[in-house]
């Protein structure tokens, strides 16, 4: 087939504008497809980085209710729980509502021991424990706002009234790029004391000795506090985070339907192109057949042309998506820890391009095979 390549190439370039428009249409559509699929893979990747070796315990009523910090000691006693820490959602506003990022008041002693994937120097951790108004910012947040050690950050409380001042004492580096670091963590004692020895926390984080026993341990935790003033709900960190995503609705179904619509739309465009191309060339195909090209050979030529167009579009579309998102550091305003077009996505885009090529080429190829030379040569000229 390689000997036909120059001929196939010439054919695709015959109507340069049409081929260009078709390729562009495929590029644009597959770029969009890759973007949408990356939404799914990025969500999955961020869930992957959530540990199944950690449990999150919260108030069963809802996350907006708190748990007594005194539960901590009883949680530590539960068999299978290796370490316990806690965090409380702060929900403050930085300058104005548009600058949204997560803020937690955290256990100054154990939190970073349970989350070793957020890397801090011993000195940073030490300062954090000692300074009442100390805060740690994630690497991504630090980059976004240019926060450096020593900077003061002022937040306006929404859940906790008032104006709160923090001093950056460290920047946490993520161990893997899929980790979200678009956050600010501050010494929980500051919150506790400001509220007059408040003694409550939002969630406990439990480090498990054996991740395989996560289900059992979670059940035991919830049974321990059943029928108390503050009942708990315990689940793995992964399930906890999945819960947030599922609250938004069925994102996957939406993305899959959009993906289907996009693929159908490009099928229509590329099919149209191949049919136009083949229609204009009826006579030439007849000539080729007269010269001794078998039906199979003309089918091959038509299909190859179609595939060449769609695959070039596919490679460019997937390549563009990869290039744009890898270079731009796009995170949808911090919604995704990392927005990376995976090899699987690229492979799927190329698969679609292949499918497009075959589907678009099949009708004209079939017509070419069926074409009666005598009829086609008689028509014009």
């Amino acid at each position: 087939m390689t000997r036909f390549l120059p001929f196939i190439l010439r054919n695709t370039l015959r109507n340069k504008r049409r081929t260009l428009l078709t390729v562009l249409s495929i590029v644009v559509s597959l770029f969009l497809f890759c973007t949408l699929r990356t939404v799914i893979t990025s969500l999955a990747a961020s869930l992957e980085s959530a540990s199944s070796a950690r449990l999150i315990t919260r108030r069963s009523t809802s996350l907006t209710f708190f748990l007594p910090i005194s539960y901590r000691d009883r949680l530590t006693q539960i068999p299978g729980v290796e370490d316990v820490s806690w965090a409380t959602w702060f929900g403050g506003v930085y300058i104005d509502e548009r600058n949204f990022f997560a803020q937690f008041a955290i256990d100054p002693l154990r939190y970073f021991e349970i989350y070793p994937e957020y890397r801090l120097t011993a000195e940073e951790k030490d300062t954090f424990r000692r300074e009442r108004t100390a805060c740690i910012v994630g690497e991504k947040l630090a980059r976004k706002y240019g926060f450096e050690v020593g900077d003061r950050i002022t937040l306006r409380g929404t859940i906790f009234e008032g104006v709160w001042d923090f001093t950056v004492c460290g920047v946490a580096q993520p161990a893997t790029p899929d980790l979200d670091t678009n956050w600010l963590l501050f010494n929980g004692e500051y919150l506790n004391q400001s509220l007059g020895d408040w003694g409550q926390v939002g969630t406990f984080v439990l480090k498990l000795a054996d991740p395989d026993r996560a289900g059992d341990v979670a059940r035991i935790v919830d049974e321990t506090f059943a029928n108390s003033a503050a009942e708990t709900k315990t689940e793995t960190e992964k399930a906890f985070q999945l819960g947030f995503i599922s609250m938004l609705g069925n994102i996957q179904a939406v993305i899959y339907s959009l993906g289907t619509a996009i693929v159908i739309a490009i099928v229509l465009v590329s099919m149209n192109t191949m049919m136009m191309a083949a229609r204009e060339r009826t006579r030439e195909i007849a000539v080729l057949k007269a010269l001794g090209f078998a039906d199979r050979a003309v089918v091959g030529l038509v299909l190859a042309e179609s595939l060449l167009i769609t695959l070039v579009g596919g490679v460019l579309g997937a390549g563009l998506a990869r290039l744009v998102f890898d270079l731009s550091d796009f995170t949808a305003g911090g919604f995704f820890p990392r927005f990376t077009v995976t090899d699987g996505t690229v492979a799927q885009a190329l698969g679609i391009a292949l499918f497009l090529g075959v589907v678009s080429g099949v009708a004209p190829a079939w017509n070419a095979a069926r074409l009666r030379i005598v009829d086609a040569l008689r028509h014009t000229g």
């Binding site: 001929f7 010439r10 000539v287 057949k289 001794g292 078998a294």
Partner: protein
């Protein structure tokens, strides 16, 4: 070549051809017999619709008779499927069309090379063959030109080079000079005559032009499906 000079290279026996136009059957040829000897130059003349092109289509294997036998170069075309017919055409038949039918996006060289892509020749061998036949038609220096950069006569010469590049025994020409001016037409007819004389190609040519028919050894007039021999010249 499988057929010795003087032996019939084409034998049509009791060939009929009927076209269907909607529900009406239009008979074009009825019980036609025709022999063409190897090395012969035959011209077919007749009014349009007389069936001369149909004969050309039948002997070149791009159309099949309603009944009767067509044997060309020792091959009975009646028994062949589409793929075998394609192989037959590639091996035995060179086509020369009225409107040249060159592929506009390919150069003269590439157009001529097309039939060779179906052979097992490698790139170097193909190049040699193409340059050889371009020499024969006198267009060696135009091998990189595209059809639109050539005159009509030159285009037809490229088409002729394409027809002979795979060395078929039979050339079929359908009004080869129909689109050409008198000077170019004469050149093309000279070339076809030379291919017949010097290279031993059997030529079957459909034409309206009496000056073209003059070049043939034998001229057959076709009228309402009946062949009438009008001229027979001795071959030189």
């Amino acid at each position: 070549m499988s057929v010795a000079a003087g032996q019939p290279i084409i034998a049509l026996r009791g060939v009929s051809k009927t076209y269907r136009r909607d529900t009406i059957a239009v008979p074009v040829l009825a019980a036609l017999d025709l022999d063409v000897a190897a090395g012969e130059f035959l011209a077919l003349m007749g009014p349009s619709g007389s069936g001369k092109s149909t004969i050309l289509n039948l002997v070149s294997g791009i159309d099949t008779p309603t009944s009767g036998r067509v044997v060309v170069a020792g091959v009975d075309l009646g028994g062949l499927d589409n793929a075998a017919l394609a192989a037959f055409r590639a091996r035995h038949v060179g086509f020369i069309f009225q409107s040249y039918n060159l592929i506009p996006v390919l150069t003269a060289f590439q157009n001529v090379e097309l039939p060779l892509l179906l052979t097992s020749l490698d790139r170097r061998e193909r190049k040699q063959h193409v340059l050889d036949v371009l020499d024969v038609v006198g267009l060696h220096d135009r091998s990189d030109h595209y059809p639109r950069q050539l005159s009509g006569g030159q285009e037809q010469r490229v088409a002729i080079a394409r027809a002979i590049v795979s060395d078929p025994s039979l050339l079929v020409a359908d009004e080869p000079t129909g689109d050409l001016d008198a000077v170019s037409a004469a050149e093309i007819l000279d070339l076809i005559g030379r291919l017949n004389r010097e290279f031993g190609k059997t030529v079957v040519m459909v034409t309206h032009d009496p000056r073209a028919a003059e070049r043939a050894h034998r001229v057959l007039h076709l009228d309402k499906g009946v062949l009438v021999e009008s001229v027979r010249r001795e071959r030189p």
